[in-house]
């Protein structure tokens, strides 16, 4: 029981990341009809927003170390600490959550530039060409990041107060074996909030209504005199923000390196296909489902029955789902079937 509960928890945070990326992918696909292989790169760029923000905060000045008297020793003290004292240190400690505020505008701009600069020319081209050009873009983005930040993962720790783990089991009266890091819990909550706000935005605002109408029948909406294309551009920006935020918040869980996006992208595409191309709830549900399945498959008990199952479970599920339910779990008729 404990073990099962723990595995579900473990699966949820990874599932949250899959769900966030898959949500953006589906949004872009549903509105613009573009299969965006560069979406993983947006996740990666988000993660590197956090890295950049942390680097900016910790810009340091060399100061003579007074505690060593035998020779001239220097230590680096961040300007923030010099100017603001303990407040500065606290800000640096909270670099990752604070970088959200930087990531939102940055990712929006990146998304808009990407859409206007490249993607808009590919609406009418074949899916194969869309895949190829965005794949090329992903390589370019990731190499640029690599040339700035190097190839090694960069540690971006969570704030000290929430760096530890919670004894979740005790809360539910399950015994002490269920221990879960605070940050992963925060990630899960964060993912749910972001997903919730995207859905609310689409459901309860006029803008969202137009977007949904455009997804359902683009031609009619255009005939009504609404500039759908412009709204879809903004939707692309939103998808970029969602992917970016997923990346920012994931940095304390997994130190980012330049190919983190690609690793997630392949899985997210599988998630989208399992959920059903073009279905937002399907993408979210499949994200969490596959995350949980993956964490169950990595239990030792299961691995001893089916060795190696943890490595292939997601792909296996995808194959089975595609063969049994060709449109995915919640796919609609007529999407991507030509």
């Amino acid at each position: 029981m404990d073990a099962i509960f723990l595995q579900i928890l473990n699966g949820l945070d990874k599932g949250g990341a899959y769900a966030l990326i898959a949500l953006g992918l589906t949004l872009v696909f549903g509105t613009l009809g573009v299969v965006n292989f560069a979406h993983g790169a947006l996740f990666m760029l988000g993660a590197f927003c956090a890295v950049t923000f942390q680097k900016l905060l910790t810009l340091s000045k060399q100061v003579k170390d007074e505690s060593i008297t035998f020779f001239d020793a220097y230590k680096e003290i961040p300007y923030l600490e010099i100017w603001l004292g303990d407040t500065g240190a606290a800000i640096i400690d909270w670099a990752v959550p604070l970088s959200i505020f930087m990531a939102i505008p940055v990712m929006l701009v990146i998304g808009l530039i990407m859409e206007r600069g490249l993607i808009q020319y590919f609406y009418k081209r074949s899916h194969a060409e869309q895949i190829l050009v965005t794949f090329g873009l992903a390589i370019v983005l990731q190499e640029i990041v690599k040339s700035f930040f190097g190839a090694n993962p960069i540690p971006t720790p969570a704030p000290d107060i929430i760096a530890g783990s919670a004894n979740v089991g005790a809360w539910f009266g399950l015994g002490d074996s269920v221990v879960y890091p605070y940050w992963r819990m925060i990630y899960l909550v964060f993912a749910l909030i972001v997903i919730g706000s995207v859905f609310a935005f689409l459901q309860f605002t006029t803008f969202g209504m137009v977007v949904r109408a455009g997804m359902a029948d683009r031609e009619t909406v255009t005939l009504l005199g609404i500039d759908v294309e412009r709204r879809f551009t903004i939707v692309f920006g939103i998808a970029a923000i969602v992917a970016g935020l997923a990346g920012v918040m994931y940095t304390p869980i997994l130190p980012p390196d330049y190919h983190i996006g690609m690793d997630f992208l392949v899985l997210s595409f599988v998630v989208v296909v399992v959920g059903g191309m073009g279905s937002l709830p399907g993408a979210v549900a499949a994200g969490f489902l596959l995350g949980i399945l993956q964490s169950f498959a990595s239990m030792n008990e299961i691995k001893s029955i089916f060795p190696g199952i943890d490595q292939i479970i997601i792909y296996l599920v995808a194959v089975v789902v595609l063969l049994v339910r060709p449109r995915g779990l919640m796919g609609r008729k007529g999407v991507m079937e030509d």
């Binding site: 299969v35 490249l118 020319y121 081209r125 899916h127 194969a128 060409e129 895949i131 190829l132 050009v133 794949f135 090329g136 873009l137 992903a138 390589i139 370019v140 190499e143 640029i144 690599k146 040339s147 690609m262 392949v266 595409f269 599988v270 296909v273 191309m277 060795p307 190696g308 490595q311 292939i312 792909y315 296996l316 995808a318 194959v319 595609l322 063969l323 060709p326 991507m336 079937e337 030509d338």
Partner: protein, 388 residues
Amino acid sequence: MGFFKLSARDALLMVIFAAAVLLAPIWLKPFGAAYPDLLQKFAIFGLFAIGFNILFGLTGYLSFGHAAFLGIGSYTAVWSFKLLSMNVIPAVIFGTLTAGLLAVLIGFVSLRRTGIYFSILTLAFAQMCYNLAYSVLTPITNGETGLRVLRDDPMVLDRAVGVIQEGSPIGDFFGWQMQGFPAFYFCAAMLIIGFYVSLRIFRSPFGLKLRAIKSNQTRMRYTGFNTRPYLLLAFVISGMYAGMAGTLMVVTDPLAGAERMQWTASGEVVLMTILGGVGTLLGPILGAVLIKYFENIFSAFNTDVLHDVFSFMPDWLENFFVTIVHPFVGEGWHLTLGTLFMVIVIFLPGGLVEGFNRLFQRRKKKASSEAAGSRVATGGEKQATAEN
């Protein structure tokens, strides 16, 4: 009919192609690409891309999992070396066949779907193979270390005949050690055979059917034509090409690692095909050669070499150019590759071959419009595009 059942034009193409491949060590010398290691790569990846093109170019099914066949070909070849003999013939046969078997399995399942679903399914299968090769199948694949041939392996056939090599084992073709130029010529022979088969497929009714599937599969089905067996056959043939390419990698260097099954490797062959020209005969080989050539040249560049290259400029300009170019060479070669990829897809979706054709036609058009007015030229252009 006539020469190898080819029309006169194709026979000429075949002869020129064979001559160009066999004489590559001579005519590639001025480009600095005439050393065996690189030539072997040209031939191997050329073969890989030809095979991929039979699927993607003719049927339009974009597979993102061809690296799996490359990988299984490699592993089978190493096992053939280990268990049977260092002779390369059994390795090539077994490597190609097992890749074909795997392709039957994967193709049977994946071809139930089209479009992006097919891409994702093939990708999923390839990733499964890759992950399994790294984890559970370690006894067979030797995991991260990679599988290599050891001197005290059984090699049943070799021991029966009594031919045991000294030193580290090298592939062997009835007495020829598969190293350097002999190895290149072996790969070249395979490439020429592969090209011949691909030419025959392109010109055959089978090839025509595949093209018909690409242009409108629904209509094909409505005419009462079952497309699945043809698609599966194309998929298997293309998988066998990939398997043979994997085998040749092992023939030239008896070592197989799981990383050549990763999906980036599948992406690379897509890129080669696109760069050269999808659905053309020579395009994929051209793409493979260019990519491997530039990979080799560019990744050898470093800052010093760059300073040499730009040394004719004034100092400030030299430094400026070195700073700009530096991220694109050496370790950053992939940046060039990605940029190239985008440029080709954006501006020249038909690849380089289409680019050449356009250039060629423009010149022809200019010449004929000077002679007889533009009316004739448009007709000629239509015919020319139809021929390609």
